[in-house]
Symmetry: C2
Subunit: 357 residues, 2 copies
C-alpha cells in the first residue's frame, strides 16, 4: 500500500489503518471553500485531507487526481454527493424566482438571467469511469450511498467507503449497505445535513447523543463530526467511542482554504455566534451563519426548488450581492462553534487537534 502507516493513538477505539492517516483528524470536505491545497496540507501533517468533488466535472476530478498523485502518495478522501436528482421543474423554478423578484430588482439582476455557477452533481457512471484509472483507496459520500452497482465496482477496486449518518437508523443502513466507516454527523455540523432516510429535521441529534448511540449500533468504526473544533472536543469525541473526528469549521480560516474574504469576515464577526439550518441556498437543509436571506425569507421553506436547483436563482443574487460587498445571499456554511477558528496553517490546526502542540 502507498499510504502512511497508522500508529496506535492510545484511545479506546483505534484509528482504522486504511484511512491512511497517522492522526485521528479528518478534514471535512467543504465544496466551494477549498480545493486540493487544503487537503494536501492536512494529509502532509498526518491527518486525512478531503477533496470535495460535488461541484467538479468528471474532467476536473480527473485533473485534480493527476495532480494529487504527481505530488506524492498522500492519503486522500475523495468526497461526492449522491443525492437523487429530480428532473428540473420549470414551474417550481419560476415560482422561486417570483418569490425572489424583489431582490432581483433591488440588485439589478434581470429576473430572466440564466442560472450561473457550478452545479452539484450526484455520483454516477461517468464519475465512476473517471475514477477507474485511479482506483482511489478511499471515497466518501454525502446523502447516503450511490446505486448498489456503483458501490460494488468501488468495492471491487478495494476502495474503502465512508458516508455520513445523522440518525441511528441511517448508520445501520450505511453499515448494511457497504460503508466501511460511518461519520456520525451531529446537528452542530456546518454545511449540508447528510440526512437521507428522512427529511424530518426533528430526527437530527446533537453529537453528544448521536455519537454514542451510533457507536453502539454499528460494528464499523465511527468518525465523529459536528461541533468538534478543539483538542478538548477531539478528546470528548474519543471518550464517546469515536475512532476519529471530522473537522470542517475549524479549517475555514486556514491560509490553504479558499474561503472568500466575505465569508472569512463573517466567521470572525459576532454574526458567527448564530447559525441556522436553511434550505434556501440549495434546496436541502444546511447550516449557515444567519444572514439577510435567512432572516427575511425564513431559513426553512417548503416552496424552494428541490436540491440542487434552489441554488440556480439565489446564486445570481449571491453574485450580485457579493459584488456589492454583502453576504446577504451567500451560503455562509459554518458549524455551531466558530469560536475556535484560527488564521493559521492547516498543519498547525491538524496537529493542535491531535494534541501534538
Amino acid at each position: 500500500m502507498t499510504m502512511l502507516e497508522s500508529h496506535a493513538t492510545g484511545t479506546s477505539a483505534s484509528l482504522p489503518e486504511w484511512l491512511g492517516a497517522t492522526l485521528p483528524i479528518l478534514q471535512a470536505p467543504m465544496a466551494g471553500v477549498q480545493d486540493a491545497g487544503l487537503a494536501q496540507a492536512v494529509s502532509t501533517a498526518g491527518g486525512l485531507g478531503a477533496i470535495p468533488c460535488a461541484l467538479l466535472t468528471p474532467k476536473a476530478v480527473s485533473e485534480v487526481l493527476e495532480q494529487w498523485h504527481q505530488a506524492g502518495s498522500l492519503p486522500c478522501n475523495l468526497n461526492f454527493f449522491c443525492h437523487q436528482q429530480p428532473p428540473a421543474n420549470d414551474e417550481i423554478a419560476q415560482q422561486w424566482r417570483s418569490l425572489l423578484a424583489p431582490y432581483f430588482a433591488e440588485l439589478g439582476v434581470p429576473l430572466d438571467a440564466p442560472p450561473s455557477g457550478a452545479v452539484r452533481r450526484p455520483f454516477d457512471d461517468q464519475m465512476l469511469a473517471t475514477l477507474a484509472p485511479f482506483k482511489p483507496p478511499l471515497v466518501s459520500f454525502h446523502f447516503g450511498l450511490p446505486a448498489p452497482e456503483l458501490v460494488q465496482t468501488l468495492k471491487s477496486w478495494g476502495t474503502r467507503i465512508l458516508s455520513s449518518a445523522t440518525t441511528v437508523a441511517e448508520a445501520r443502513w450505511l453499515a448494511e449497505h457497504g460503508a466501511d466507516a460511518v461519520i456520525a454527523q451531529g446537528i452542530e455540523a456546518g454545511g449540508h445535513r447528510g440526512m437521507f432516510l428522512s427529511t424530518d429535521l426533528s430526527t437530527q441529534m446533537g453529537t453528544m447523543a448521536l455519537l454514542p448511540q451510533i457507536v453502539k449500533a454499528v460494528d464499523v468504526p465511527v468518525i465523529a463530526a459536528g461541533g468538534i473544533s478543539s483538542r478538548a472536543a477531539v478528546r470528548a469525541a474519543q471518550a464517546l467511542g469515536a475512532s476519529a473526528v471530522q473537522v470542517g469549521t475549524a479549517y475555514l480560516l486556514c491560509s490553504e482554504a479558499r474561503t472568500s474574504p466575505l465569508h472569512r469576515a463573517s466567521l470572525t464577526s459576532p454574526a458567527a455566534e448564530h447559525t441556522g439550518l436553511t434550505n434556501l441556498f440549495s434546496g436541502r437543509p444546511a447550516r449557515s451563519i444567519v444572514n439577510r436571506a435567512m432572516r427575511e425569507l425564513g431559513a426553512l421553506r417548503h416552496d424552494v426548488p428541490p436540491f440542487p436547483y434552489a441554488a440556480d436563482a439565489i446564486g445570481l443574487l449571491r453574485q450580485a450581492a457579493e459584488a456589492r460587498g454583502t453576504v446577504d445571499f451567500t451560503p455562509l456554511w459554518c458549524g455551531q462553534n466558530a469560536s475556535d477558528c484560527r488564521t493559521a496553517p492547516a498543519a498547525d490546526i491538524t496537529r493542535h487537534l491531535a494534541g501534538l502542540e
Copy 2:
C-alpha cells in the same frame, strides 16, 4: 456547613465545594416524574439530588423541606421555574380548545371541562417567604432568574444559585446577574428548554458546541446538560471543561423515580429513538418522545396559549387518554439518548456515571 465535603475529582475543572456533592453528578430536576425520593437516593450516593418545585404550592414545598431535613443533612438542589406569567387570556384559551375539540369528542371529555392538574408557578415573594425559615444552601432556576430583589434576598442568606443557559449570551447574562454556576443546556436535553433571552429555536446548540463556548465565556463553574447518560459522556463533558454534569433522562427508569408506567413503557420502546421539541404541552418548547399529538397537530405551533396555560386543555386530553392506556397526549419528556436508561436504583446510576462501578 451541613454538607458533605467535596473531594478533588482529578478533572481539569474542579467540582465546586458549595454544591455539597462528592461526585460531579447532578440529578436534573424533573417536575412531574419525581419527588424527594429520587433526590434523596442521588444525594445519599454522593451526587446532588434535585427537588422540582415548579408544580408545588408553597405549603407543599415547606412540607417537603421539613421532611428533607428530618431525614438528615443531605445536599439538595431546590428547583423553581421563574417565567414571566402573563394573565390568562380567555380568547386564546378558547381557540386552543376549539382546535382540540375533535380530540375532546373522541375521548368523551366535555369541551367545557374545567382545567385540571397542577399549575406551574413562577418563583415569587410567597415562595421566597416559604424558603426563609430554611435558608436553603442551593436553589436553581429555569427560564432565567427571578426578579433582582428576590435574587438579592437569596444571596443575603448565603444561598447559591444555579440556572440554565441555552446560548452563550444567556450564560453571560446569568453570570452577570447572580448565578454562581451556569448549566449549559444542550439541545439534546429532555424537558423544557431553559431559554429566556430569545424564543428563536435556531439559537439552540448541541452540547458539543455550546458547552466549550460557555466555558470560555464565563468565569463561574459550568455544569453540562443534554445527552449525558453514560460514564463516557461524563468524561466527554469534563474534557470540554464542565465542572459537573446534570443528568435527567438516565434516571427516568429508576425505582425511585415516579415516572408513570406508560412513560416508562415509551422510554423502553423504539419510540424513544425519536424525540422532538414541542410547545403543545405547556406553551414552551420542551423535548418529548414524539407522540400522536405532536405528529397530528405539529410539534411546534404559534397558536398555543402561552406558558403554562397550554397545559390546561391538553392536560384534560392527557388524563382521558392515559385512562385508556395511551400516551397520545402525554408529555413524554426525554432527552435525545434514552438508550442508556436502566431500571436500577438511582445510587447505582449515580455511581456508574461517576465511574465508581
